[in-house]
């Protein structure tokens, strides 16, 4: 068993290496030196204390979104709508933060709670139709992302715009802040929330019968059904939970980092989270490390844009290449048994 795990991990590492080589070729193609780009990325990631804190700050939303994606993947559901849930959760938390004066502590919890509710509510309709009528959840959640982003922009600019401000809501009250961990960075308790969530989710999947049922539905739905699992209801609940965690990610981001809701406040965290979860093969604990990797890339890319001519989107390219090579590489190994069977989310 240990041997299996070692092989799986080494497979992912090889895939990442292949992707980095391909990324280097692309960097050469856009006329930059790969060595310089990677060194700048490293410097931007681990250069000093503040940079490391910055990396962890970027890791936080990716980790929480990654856990959201893991919950879906385990249950055989592709929640591609985490981005939208993140936006609505972020707005909901900010709204609680600036509109309702509450005592400190309770205020933060109320904001996060509404973020969770908003995320779950946003995925409820796609989840219902997926569970009841088998409507493809990939398409419905992707399309609802666009609606979510536009809707929160509408709320922000037409309903709650800060007077004189630039497409953002009024700042939230200090009582609703997620406390910061250090005084030299905006790094906050969100990271702790993310870590607890990841480990907690892993424990639930490992030690509870409910978690076992979810994993069963994800990997062998027929078997689970014969085993007495209500597959439809479980699919609904899994998507709802995934959406709730996605909403929480948004709440953590607005209450912990931005202290207000801004138009386009968290571009791509939802997709980064999904990619991190895929690279981790749906394991919440492994997602901690993949999220850290992507958080580091993201934080390093900020310096990249300042110090070199390359665009920070080059890291998006590298992430996509990683997923592509992971999906290809493991299947080379497993090609024999996958020819006959259906495609699985595990690649």
């Amino acid at each position: 068993m240990m041997n299996d795990r070692l092989r799986a991990v080494s497979g992912q590492v090889i895939a990442v290496a292949v992707a980095l080589v391909m990324g280097a070729i692309i960097i050469l193609m856009v006329g930059e030196s790969p060595v310089r780009v990677f060194m700048t990325l490293l410097r931007g990631t681990f250069g000093d204390q503040a940079k490391i804190a910055g990396t962890l700050l970027q890791t936080t939303p990716i980790l929480i979104c990654g856990v959201a994606a893991c919950i879906g993947l385990r249950g055989g559901m592709f929640n591609v709508g985490i981005e939208g849930q993140l936006f609505l959760g972020g707005f909901a938390a900010a709204w609680v933060g600036f509109a309702f004066p509450l005592p400190a502590g309770i205020h933060t919890l109320a904001g996060l709670a509404l973020a969770v509710v908003a995320g779950a509510a946003w995925v409820a309709i796609p989840a219902y139709f997926r569970a009841r009528y088998n409507t493809n959840e990939v398409v419905s959640t992707i399309l609802s992302n666009y609606v979510a982003v536009l809707l929160t922009s509408y709320f922000t600019i037409f309903l709650f715009k800060r007077p004189g401000g630039w497409s953002e809501t009024p700042p939230i009250l200090p009582t609703a802040y997620l406390p910061e961990l250090f005084d030299f960075s905006r790094l906050n308790w969100g990271l702790v929330i993310g870590l607890v969530l990841a480990i907690g989710t892993a424990l639930v999947f490992r030690y509870t019968s409910w978690g076992y049922g979810v994993t069963m539905v994800g990997s062998a739905p027929k078997f689970a059904e014969y085993g007495g699992v209500n597959v439809k209801r479980q699919g609904f609940v899994v998507l709802l939970l995934s959406g709730a965690v996605g909403g929480l990610a948004g709440g953590v981001e607005t209450l912990g980092v931005h202290h207000r809701f801004m138009e386009g406040f968290a571009p791509g965290f939802g997709f980064d989270g999904l990619i991190a979860a895929l690279l981790a093969n749906g394991s919440p604990v492994a997602t901690i490390f993949t999220a850290l990797f992507f958080g580091a890339l993201r934080n390093g890319s900020l310096l990249l844009e300042v110090d070199t001519g390359a665009s920070r989107e080059i890291i998006t390219v590298i992430q996509a290449l990683i997923i592509l090579s992971v999906s290809a590489q493991v299947l080379v190994r497993r090609r024999g048994d996958s020819q006959a069977g259906e495609r699985r989310w595990k690649f």
Binding site: Y133, I323, L324
Partner: protein, 328 residues
């Protein structure tokens, strides 16, 4: 009533045809993969790559048609990678499709920065747009209705002519039949000696061809510019249409006209001072509503099929019963 007159007129219908064209092309492209039994969520990325490289080609060569060819070539490369991973390596098609979409988004932005040194969009720079085709005699025959058939770019005509061609393709050609067999009954295709791999590769590449054209229409058609993520979910809407049309060209056309109309209508509403953010959600909401409503409608079919299956099982059960206790 007056406001309705202003909203719905010849110009709106002509605008509908214009906005329908890209989504129709990309959806018809997706019909190849859908019919061949591949769920292709990567349409969005192929379209985006097509749009970007069409602009690039048009700047480099100074010709709009060479630009279109560049766009199509880029989309074909994406389609080929998709086919290699999904067909040959049997990778998960959702994962590969999403990754290719993300790749297209990141790559176009990185290349834009590298080549033009700008973020956001490429405007001017010598982009050559597609010419408008004025059909001779249209004005004389149709008068003020002429804009309905004349004055579009060539790609719009290609899109609408492709619909009957695809109907013929699926019903009258060998390749069309092969694609359908591979999608519906892969075991039968295997038994007939049809190479599933080759057919699926062909379908993917045909899909890339049309998706590339759709992208070129976006960036060289009515507005000659490229903006970040300018396909803005049209590829995903096309996938929604493909799900409830099952890839049948005529149903695809009907769905696309609905979206083209929603698109054109929302543009129109914007000029009447409705909040643009809400108005822009209209096409996505229409897509979602259609997806949900039609899957709800498909419910009786599912129930009917389940009942038929149970009946078959029951009767099979009865037939195997010894002694034959048939009620007479």
């Amino acid at each position: 009533m007056e406001i309705l007159d202003k909203l719905v007129n010849v110009a709106l219908i002509a605008a509908t045809l214009r906005t329908t064209a890209p989504i129709l092309l990309v959806a018809l492209g997706g019909s190849f993969t859908t019919k061949a039994g591949i769920f292709n969520i990567g349409l969005e990325g192929q379209m985006l790559a097509g749009a970007f490289f069409a602009v690039l080609g048009s700047i480099w060569t100074g010709s709009a048609f060479a630009g279109v060819a560049c766009g199509v070539a880029a989309a074909l490369v994406f389609a080929l990678v998709f086919a290699v991973l999904v067909v040959s390596f049997r990778a998960n098609e959702v994962v590969v499709g999403l990754a290719l979409n993300i790749l297209a988004g990141g790559m176009t932005i990185s290349l834009m920065k590298a080549i033009f040194g700008t973020r956001g969009s490429i405007v001017g720079q010598g982009i050559v747009g597609l010419p408008k085709v004025q059909l001779p005699g249209a004005r004389a025959v149709l008068g003020s209705w002429a804009p309905l058939i004349s004055g579009f770019t060539p790609i719009v005509y290609v899109a609408f002519i492709a619909v009957p061609l695809l109907v013929l393709f699926y019903n009258r050609t060998r390749l069309g039949l092969y694609i359908r067999v591979v999608g519906e009954k892969p075991e039968a295709a295997e038994a007939l000696g049809i190479s599933i791999t080759r057919v699926r590769y062909t379908a993917s590449l045909l899909c890339g061809l049309l998706a590339g054209l759709a992208g070129a229409h976006l960036s060289l058609g009515y507005i000659t510019m490229f903006t970040e993520n300018m396909s803005s979910g049209r590829g995903f809407m096309a996938v929604a249409i493909l799900i409830f049309s099952n890839g049948d060209p005529l149903k695809v056309l009907a769905g696309c006209l609905l979206f083209g109309f929603a698109d054109a209508f929302s543009l129109r509403l914007q000029t009447f001072g409705y909040p643009s953010y809400l108005v822009l959600t209209v096409p996505y909401v229409v897509a979602l509503t259609a997806l949900f409503a039609l899957s709800y409608r498909a419910r009786p079919k599912i129930i009917k099929e389940t009942l038929a299956l149970m009946q078959k099982l029951l009767s099979a059960d009865r037939n195997t019963e010894p002694g034959g206790k048939h009620p007479s």
